[in-house]
Amino acid sequence: MQKLTSIRRILGISSGLLTVGLLAIPSFALGNPATTSSGSGSTLTTTEQQQHLADIQQKGDAEINRRLGQLNKLDGIIAAATHLTPSDQAYLTAEVNAEVSGLTALETKLNAETTLSAAIADAQNIFTEYRVYALVTPKVWLVKTADDQQSVEAKLSTLSGKLQSRITADQNAGKNVTSLQGTLNSMNTQISDAQSISSSVEATVLPLQPADYDTDHSILSGYRSKLQTAQSDDQTADSDATTIVTGLKSL
């Protein structure tokens, strides 16, 4: 008799937990975009479904607006960039504008939904279709960094030519420039290495799209460290240039 009572108690608790779990499914689906759910909400009452629909619409609006704010910041950064090439600037601006218009339309669509499943699908599209934080924001910064580094590398290359001219002139005047020429050769190697990395990163990162991120979440990994290597090369080249200029002054 006592055993039967225990079994009844366990069954009661289990059914209670199952009910709570079913009620939580729609919210869970929105919380984790990787989770797919039909979101039919068949176990919910009509009132509960309407409440969930309103919640998803409210939270979806908040997420969309958070992303629109971020995209506006990115637009300002791209517009204010002084070293971005015109083509890169135009490409990134067009991409950000497309995300803004897409998200704005999605917000309108989400707010017009009348079923829970459609609202959940719209809410998931906030992430899977746009990837504002996962892809677009780091991409803009990586491209800007690579572009600015290439600008520095172009200046270093021009300076290298001038330094070679001075070293050659001093050599023709009978001065010992062996050490300076060696440093300049090292500088040229550093510039060449940095240019190769910066241009490669920019060319690879620029065309990446949200669908690429959905296929491979680690798609951006490694590019930051590559740019740090190029940055280090640039700094070494700059240090070499400083050494050469100081040496030329003392000849």
């Binding site: 919210s27 869970f28 929105l30 919380g31 984790n32 975009p33 990787a34 919640d55 939270k59 997420e63 070293h83 992430f127 990837r131 504002v132 934080y133 996962a134 924001t137 780091p138 803009v140 910064w141 990586l142 800007k144 960094t145 600015d148 580094q149 600008s151 520095v152 200046k155 270093l156 021009t158 300076l159 001038k162 330094l163 001219s165 001075r166 002139a169 023709n172 005047a173 009978g174 951006l220 930051r224 740019l227 740090q228 940055q231 640039d234 700094q235 700059d238 240039a241 400083t242 200029v245 030329l248 002054k249």
Partner: protein
């Protein structure tokens, strides 16, 4: 009146002065021409190119290419350092953006 020159004597003196000036000018021009010819002979043709030897023993230094003087080089270095500073800031912003990727999947649902 022995000190008073006649009109014809006055004209002769003027002509004499003119002649003296002319002689001096001609002698000067001839001397200048001789010196110039002498200098030109110092120009030697070596291997098909003309090299002009200096009248002094100071070694000839070719003029600096535009923008390669010390001040210009220092200015270039300053400009490059400014660019490097900008790329440092970009790099920090990139790091922040990459760290912010987690915001993509953090969605409050309650």
């Amino acid at each position: 009146m022995p000190n008073k020159l006649r009109k014809s004597d006055s004209g002769s003196a003027f002509l004499e002065i003119i002649l003296i000036v002319l002689v001096v000018v001609v002698v000067g021009l001839v001397a200048w021409k001789i010196k110039k010819d002498h200098d030109d002979k110092k120009t030697a043709t070596i291997g098909g190119t003309t090299a002009t030897s200096s009248t002094t023993s100071v070694p000839v230094t070719s003029p600096l290419q535009s923008g390669t003087d010390n001040a210009s080089l220092s200015s270039d270095l300053t400009n490059i350092n400014s660019g490097l500073s900008q790329t440092n800031q970009d790099g920090a912003a990139s790091n922040t953006a990459i760290n912010d990727q987690q915001q993509e999947i953090t969605v409050p649902t309650n």
